[in-house]
């Protein structure tokens, strides 16, 4: 029996590897083509398309790296992505804080208005946006890209942040109030630091969204000054359409920042993008927790990180490191708004 299963396992494993390597070939070939193609010259690309470069030419990569336009576009992309992220996260956090922790008339209506924004594909608005930006003379200005991108990022960011802020126990706020902190100080000094993991998630979403954005920059940025990398790549290809090797080097270098980011923040990126994509449907019960299931290698609320929010853990005593005064707390105060605990928070927390 043991021999049999050993052989069966070997057979099975071989099957796995064959399938996995087939898929690897499918995924890796185009990227290797770009990477290696950039080291060839055009004659090699024609006559030795499949082999390794021989000899290796580094001049295409060197040319691109010495190209001021490339660096300017890279800088523009970085600047626009960071500015978009900062604006959308700051604005969304403030309003999500109000939605999560204040009672006032019209709150749900206002929230619905924002949430309804999820239903507008960006392409629906791009034409009128263009006309509006033209009227405000914001064409060819980075703000013409940053502000609409931030605005379209608001719904998802608000939904995610609000559901996280709601999980933070009311006692934390009470304690802060007793210690004399107003809403601003509570928001800046307590709520935001406590929400670092979810802020990271929504920031990743905004960064990646802006970095990849093409349609809006295409219509807004017709002058080269502020053009971003995706526009740059398509233009470079138009300019050097006969010099394939050069374009491949440019393509490869344009992909590199995302690849490096992925290498360093792989967990954040995977969990952020998948939870973001599914969150967009408000399907938080199903896929969200599944996505986070065992993919997350780091546990929520690691001790010592100062994140006092016991994420999905239920035991009330083990999670949050509560501020002082817990002797006076009464159990029924733990969650405002009553009702069963509905949303599990399931963000990457590492």
């Amino acid at each position: 029996m043991s021999v049999d299963t050993g052989r069966a396992r070997l057979l099975r494993n071989t099957g796995f590897y064959i399938a996995a390597f087939l898929a690897t070939g499918f995924v890796a070939t185009p990227i290797l083509f770009a990477l290696l193609g950039g080291f060839k010259d055009n004659q090699q690309l024609r006559e030795n398309a499949l082999g390794l470069p021989n000899p290796w030419h580094v001049e295409h990569y060197v040319d691109v790296l010495a190209n001021a336009t490339f660096w300017r576009q890279l800088g523009n992309s970085v600047f626009i992505a960071l500015a978009t992220t900062f604006i959308v996260v700051a604005a969304a956090a403030a309003v999500a804080y109000v939605f999560a922790r204040f009672q006032f008339k019209g709150r749900e209506g206002l929230f619905t208005l924002f949430a309804a924004g999820m239903m507008f594909p960006f392409a629906v608005a791009v034409l009128p946006l263009f006309i509006i930006l033209r009227t405000f003379e914001m064409l060819n200005s980075p703000l013409g890209v940053i502000l609409p991108q931030a605005a379209f990022g608001l719904p998802l960011t608000i939904i995610i942040l609000r559901s996280f802020f709601r999980q933070i126990p009311g006692e934390v706020e009470e304690a802060a109030t007793i210690d004399g902190a107003g809403p601003w100080r509570f928001f800046i000094q307590i709520l935001l630091p406590m929400s670092r993991p979810v802020i990271a998630t929504v920031s990743v979403l905004a960064l990646v969204g802006s970095w990849n954005s093409y349609l809006l920059p295409l219509v807004v940025l017709s002058k080269p000054t502020w053009q971003t990398l995706p526009l740059g790549v398509t233009q470079f290809q138009g300019e050097y359409s006969t010099e394939t090797a050069k374009v491949l080097a440019f393509v490869m270098l344009a992909m590199l920042p995302a690849l490096i980011f992925y290498a360093f923040a792989e967990r954040h990126l995977i969990s952020g993008l998948t939870s973001g994509g599914t969150k967009g449907l408000a399907v938080r019960r199903q896929t969200g927790p599944e996505v986070m299931g065992r993919l997350r290698a780091c546990r929520p609320s690691r001790p010592g990180t100062g994140s006092p929010v016991g994420l999905p853990r239920r035991e009330p005593s083990s999670g949050p490191r509560r501020p002082k005064r817990h002797a006076t707390q009464t159990p029924h105060r733990t969650r405002r708004g009553g009702g069963p605990r509905r949303e599990r928070v399931h963000f990457a927390t590492c």
Binding site: A91, Y97, F120, P128, I132, N212, L229, A254, M255, V283
Partner: protein
């Protein structure tokens, strides 16, 4: 408190709500986009023209085709690989990381890369075919019958990793105890798959189908950079038709009608799908106001 709400609200009204309302308004006008606001009211004419427009109808057909191909090919492939990577074998983490790479790349950049791969001037794809002994001169992107399938191949390359991760997470969320119990009862691995894995993966599968359709409806960057919708509209998408009418031909009214049609199609699909397909899975829906209470 107003200070907390105001920035987001102003941003949102100015750059989301106003443009969408403006698009809805403009869709009832004949307008070339010049001079202030549209004045030439034409009622529903733009929409009437739309449903008689072969390009628009073609867009819908292409959405349907790509969706069907995705459900028939891309999603099963992602599912199979997810099941594979769920098994323990050395190196599976590396495979998982690798398969997600295409998803993080910029669509426009990906399109440039594949434009070179499928280039008519002795592109890489032709060279591969030649290396395999075939006559390597295929009009990958210029053949009207082929271009959509090539684009579908690229979409599969780009997006299967995303679906795979969702499936993998769904599979990992199924408690192993269920399998153990069934095995004790003598279930075969086929039965395990049929009666445990598949039903419990249901919600995840339904969501990936949903995401796939919505993504297809809004497709722009990749196809626009690759083919501009050509040859002769053979690969055109709704968003490309809108872009072409609005930004190239200055038919702002007509393009607005297209935008509204795109919005209504996504919305209608979302509502119907949520009502009839996801209803079992969802506690809240797109339209629920309170994050799933109802």
């Amino acid at each position: 408190m107003a200070a907390f709400i105001a920035p987001a609200l102003i941003l949102f009204l100015l750059f989301v709500i106003v443009p969408v309302l403006f698009a809805a308004y403009t869709s009832f006008f004949d307008w070339n986009g010049l001079g202030g606001i549209p004045t030439d009211f034409v009622g529903l004419e733009n929409f009437q023209a739309l449903i008689a427009d072969e390009v628009f109808l073609g867009d819908l057909w292409r959405i349907g085709l790509i969706t069907m191909l995705s459900v028939a090919v891309q999603l099963p492939m992602a599912f199979g690989l997810a099941m594979l990577l769920h098994q323990r074998f050395p190196g599976r983490t590396a495979f998982r990381l690798l398969f997600f790479v295409p998803y993080i790349l910029t669509e426009a950049v990906t399109a440039v890369l594949f434009g070179l791969i499928f280039s008519p001037r002795r592109g890489f794809a032709d060279a591969v075919l030649a290396g395999l002994g075939f006559d390597g001169r295929v009009g990958w992107l210029s053949d009207r019958g082929l271009v959509l399938f090539v684009i579908f191949g690229i979409l599969t390359w780009k997006f299967f990793g995303f679906h795979m991760i969702l499936y993998l997470a769904g599979r990992q969320n199924i408690p192993e105890e269920l399998y153990e119990a069934a095995r004790v009862d003598g279930a075969t691995s086929k039965q395990l798959f049929r009666h445990i894995t598949l039903p419990l993966m249901g919600p995840t599968i339904r969501i990936t189908v949903f995401l796939s359709v919505i993504g297809t409806v809004q497709l722009f960057d990749l196809v626009y950079v690759l083919t501009k919708g050509g040859p002769y509209h053979a690969s055109e998408t709704l968003a490309i038709t809108m872009y072409d009418q609005g930004f190239v031909r200055n038919q702002i009214g007509y393009a607005s009608a297209l935008s509204i049609a795109m919005f209504l199609i996504s919305l209608l699909f979302a509502l119907i799908y949520q009502r009839y397909v996801l209803s079992r899975d969802l506690q809240g829906s797109l339209t629920s106001t309170d994050g799933g209470r109802s």
